[in-house]
């Protein structure tokens, strides 16, 4: 009995071995194999054979590349190129369909490539970037989730400075913003307090001044080029004095080039950190180097040698343990983050202005891959369906001497040629969709998606890969065609007609399109729900104006004079939009404290916004200079400390951390204080001893334009320096959910893409199938089939594909939204059958239109003419 050794191992041998040696070598192996079967059994014999094939892979056995064979291959490829071009022009309709589908999907691919390339260029301009690390901090309080932050306590900087492994330490503080005056100019600027080594560690180009000493002394400042221009015009800024932050006089010690777009540190100026330190000390505040003082400061270190990172890690671990011993319920854990991993990087709190959420990048990437796959499947589907038409060609080629591999290469080449053409189209499309993508401003992505020439390299690679992916399957099918059968009787070809495969591919496309539609609809509904959510107080026609340092009482007085301004109140923050201010509160038990959120408001605030009082009364106007003793709390606070029902709670006392004891004067009903993805916390309203930062105006007017004009004029009278910053509360709320508008826009866009791709594929398939079944249709008609039953019969496969896709899409999106996405929201919509079915309905309608029109034409045709011409 002749058993053969494992065929695949044999194939490998034939593939690598030189032809001269192959015959006797393989013969010997086969002989040994037969003997081994007898002596050691089949399994061991096969194993030994495989091992021997591997062992024979040596220098003297392996084929050598001859230059002649390379030439041959190139000439062959050239001929394939010509054939591909001819084929493309011959079947113009299908080529167009395939081309558009591929081009559309590839344009998203190009977008992703450009986006990723640009994001990875962030912070690349720093020479020492491989040795620069940022110290980040993870804050955990009680049972709350751990919150990783980009900021950390200055104590860390102090301790790290003493380490051998650390070459330099940079300590910075954020929120250095305010007005700067020079002679008659007053300009608002934003920047950082930065320590001496900042310009040494980071590579910001210094135009004037000495980088080594620029930030060494107190009351010194470094300006950017633009800032220097604004203040001093074309005159050199060095040595000049500015009046600014904290009422200090600053001397300009250096001017640097503006930080480029791709830098995570953005600033108008850098003030020396030692100035800030001295100011604090002069005020008697020694808390600068507290371990818990982590919210406003950034620490960067420059290592001598990257290899010593582990030592620093260990050192930080030790510090974490030591310092956290002093805090009972809270912990702060410092760790190192590479400069190059900041953007793109994990989502930390307190980032310096620029941040790119890496999760979002992953999602975008996944989505574009899916879209590209969808288009590839289009090509695959159509090509396989049309393979019958090319069977003759394959037959002749094989007779002339083409190997199966060569036929395969030819058709893969064809697909790659296609996709290269599609790439050209896609590039054009990319420039079209680029402004649209950038305008999704809610992303706040600091990119401009410039297309650099060298991007053509990865883009072309991408195109080739897409072509390969799309063409591989059809090439396999076509290369299997047996020459004799193809030439003798084409109809007898038992092709891997792969009806099932094609249905699967179609289902894939439809499912994607439907899922996108459903996702868009659900996201949109949730967004509108969030924006219209009843917060428990009024926000309609409430205009919030920033006081920007001016006397809020004066502003309030002036504004209230304008007709149309119904009421004015003041506060320090705007709730329900994502901001939160918090502190700790205790009741009776000194060990039992909890976090609460608060807003400092004046006596008009609660009435203006129509908060619902459950017990007690509102604040009274606070006389000048007196200290507030009353607070108004929400129901959640009562529940937290078991204070009884609202009426009972009046008069009870609560102790606020660092502020003392307060009496509860009023209780309001729970309201939605954070964005709707959060539940409620205990809340406190208190009056402020300092000035209020925000004015809330309740407006009523038939001519809002004119009213706004009047408000603006009033502002200009009081403050000539700062621009009028006002925003309607409702608009601000919409902005808070802006993240979701961006998601909706993207998913909506992708829906359009995948719908068009599916439609194109559907169109192509319909045309092809009806054409190839013309004879069948005519005969059926003659035998008496009605037009409608014919149409139904022809579209059977498509209809079933659509229905299956509808079910799958509904299931997928339901799972995703119900379990993953919406469950993050404390308040959310319920997903209905209509939402899930929307994908199915819309696609069905579109499919009916595309298919229907063509089907009707075919079905109505006169059977006689068709049969006669066949």
């Amino acid at each position: 009995m002749m058993t053969d050794p494992p065929r695949w191992a044999d194939r490998i041998l034939e593939w690598y071995c030189r032809d001269e040696i192959l015959e006797d070598l393989q013969g010997d192996l086969h002989e040994v194999f037969r003997k081994n079967i007898r002596e050691k059994g089949l399994l061991r014999a096969r194993l030994i054979y495989i091992v021997d094939v591997i062992k024979f892979f040596r220098f003297y056995t392996v084929k050598q590349f001859k230059p002649e064979s390379i030439m041959q291959a190139l000439i062959l490829l050239l001929s394939y190129w010509k054939t591909s071009l001819r084929n493309i022009t011959r079947t113009k309709l299908f080529s167009l369909i395939n081309l558009s589908g591929l081009a559309i999907s590839m344009s998203t691919g190009i977008l992703m490539i450009v986006l990723l390339a640009e994001i990875h260029q962030f912070d690349m301009m720093h020479e020492k970037r491989d040795r620069i690390f940022r110290v980040i901090n993870t804050f955990k309080n009680g049972n709350d989730a751990a919150e990783p932050c980009a900021s950390t306590s200055p104590l860390v900087a102090q301790k790290l400075a003493g380490l051998d492994a650390v070459d330099k330490v940079v300590l910075m503080r954020r929120n250095a913003s305010g007005d700067f005056q020079f002679e008659d100019k007053t300009i608002p600027l934003g920047g950082f307090w930065a320590s001496t080594d900042f310009l040494d560690v980071f590579s910001f180009e210094v135009l004037e001044g000495d980088p080594q000493t620029a930030l060494r002394d107190p009351n010194t400042i470094v300006l950017t080029e633009t800032t220097s221009q604004k203040l001093f015009g074309n005159v050199s800024a060095l040595g000049k004095s500015l009046h600014g932050l904290n009422d200090n006089l600053y001397t300009v010690t250096a001017v640097v080039k503006d930080p480029p777009l791709h830098s995570h540190l953005q600033f108008d100026f850098l003030a020396s950190f030692v100035t800030f330190e001295e100011n604090r000390r002069a005020q008697g505040d020694e808390s600068l180097y507290d371990w818990s003082n982590m919210w406003m400061y950034y620490t960067y270190i420059l290592l001598n040698d990257v290899a010593q990172k582990t030592r620093v890690d260990q050192f930080l671990e030790k510090i974490n343990q030591e310092e956290n011993k002093r805090y009972k319920n809270t912990s702060y854990s410092a760790s190192l983050q590479r400069l190059t991993e900041i953007v793109p990087g994990p989502n930390l709190s307190n980032q310096t202005r620029t941040r790119v959420n890496i999760n979002m990048i992953w999602i975008l990437l996944a989505l574009s891959v899916i879209v590209v796959l969808s288009a590839c499947f289009n090509y695959t589907n159509l090509s396989i369906a049309r393979s019958l038409g090319r069977a003759r060609e394959v037959g002749i080629r094989k007779v002339i001497g083409a190997t199966r591999g060569q036929v395969l290469t030819q058709f893969v080449m064809e697909a790659i040629v296609f996709s290269l053409f599609a790439m050209v189209l896609a590039l054009g499309l990319f420039f079209l969709i680029r402004p649209y993508f950038l305008s999704i401003g809610e992303f706040d992505l600091p990119v401009n998606l410039d297309f650099k020439i060298w991007y053509l390299v990865p883009v072309s690679a991408f195109a080739v890969m897409t072509g390969f992916l799309a063409g591989f399957l059809p090439s396999l099918v076509l290369s299997k065609i047996k020459a004799i059968i193809a030439l003798k009787d084409v109809t007898r070809i038992r092709l891997f007609s792969g009806i099932n495969l094609r249905i699967v591919l179609m289902v894939f496309q439809f499912t994607i399109a439907m899922a996108m539609i459903i996702a868009t609809i659900i996201s949109y509904r949730q967004y509108r729900f969030a924006v219209n959510f009843d917060l428990g107080y009024d926000t309609e026609n409430v205009l919030n104006i920033e006081a920007q340092g001016n006397d809020s009482r004066k502003l309030a007085l002036e504004f209230s004079r304008i007709p149309g301004v119904q009421a004015v109140s003041r506060s320090i923050m705007i709730p329900s939009t994502g901001d939160s201010w918090g502190n700790y509160v205790k009741h009776i038990d000194p060990a039992d404290s909890t976090i609460y959120n608060y807003n400092l408001v004046d006596e008009n605030y609660l009435t203006l916004h129509n908060f619902t009082f459950l017990a007690g009364r509102n604040f009274k106007e606070l006389p000048e200079g007196s200290v507030p003793k009353e607070i108004i709390v929400n129901e959640e606070m009562l529940r937290r400390f078991d204070l009884g029902d609202p009426i009972e709670a009046i008069g009870k006392q609560l102790t606020l951390l660092d502020e003392g004891a307060y009496q509860i004067t009023g209780v309001v009903a729970d309201f939605q204080f954070k964005t709707i993805d959060s539940g409620n916390r205990p809340f406190v309203f208190k009056q402020s001893t300092e000035d209020y930062a925000i004015l809330n105006l309740k407006l009523r007017s038939n001519d809002m334009q004119q009213l706004m004009g009047q408000l603006q004029d009033t502002w200009k009278r009081i403050d000539q320096v700062h621009p009028f910053e006002a925003e309607f509360f409702d608009d601000r709320i919409e902005e808070a959910y802006a993240e979701y508008t961006s998601i909706i826009k993207i998913v909506g866009f992708l829906s359009l893409l995948s719908i068009s791709i599916s439609v194109l594929g559907l169109l192509g398939m319909t045309i092809f199938l009806t054409q190839s079944r013309l004879r069948e249709i005519s005969i059926r008609k003659i035998l008496g089939a009605s037009e409608s039953s014919l149409a139904l019969h022809l579209s059977r496969t498509f209809l079933s594909a659509i229905i299956i896709s509808g079910l799958i899409a509904a299931g997928l999106t339901y799972y995703f939204f119900e379990v993953r996405f919406l469950s993050n929201f404390a308040h959310r919509i319920n997903i209905g059958i209509l939402d899930l079915g929307s994908g199915l309905i819309i696609i069905s309608l579109i499919a009916l239109c595309t298919m229907g029109w063509h089907l009707i034409k075919v079905v109505r045709a006169n059977p006689a003419t068709i049969l006669r011409s066949e």
Binding site: E23, G27, H30, D52, Y60
Partner: protein, 109 residues
């Protein structure tokens, strides 16, 4: 004439080729050596050895006729050349020469 040196294994293969005179091919050499040495011999090692020695001119290969076994693949038979025989003789002389120099050795009691 250039003195070619061959390794121990190659020498064994060369000897076997000579012994099987004109009937030696990959598998026959392998089986013979396995029997004599009482250990597994790898066929690829044998082919390498044969190739090296053919390059050095110590053996000469010729193809046998097509048979129905081995899937119709011909065997390559090797025969020893004059140079090869000289080499074998030389090795033999060297070895027996030293061997005869060994005095009577007694091992232990």
């Amino acid at each position: 004439m250039k003195s070619t040196s061959i390794g121990e294994f190659e020498e064994l293969v060369l000897l076997t080729v000579a012994a099987q005179h004109d009937q030696a091919y990959g598998v026959s050499i392998k089986e013979s050596l396995e029997e004599i040495l009482d250990r597994k011999v790898n066929i690829s090692a044998i082919h390498v050895a044969l190739k090296r020695m053919e390059d050095k001119g110590l053996v000469k290969g010729r193809f046998g006729g097509i048979t129905s076994e081995r899937g119709g693949r011909r065997k390559k038979f090797y025969v020893i050349t004059i140079a090869g025989k000289k080499e074998v003789d030389r090795q033999y002389t060297i070895r027996t020469g030293i061997y005869h120099q060994i005095p009577k050795i007694s091992f232990g009691t």
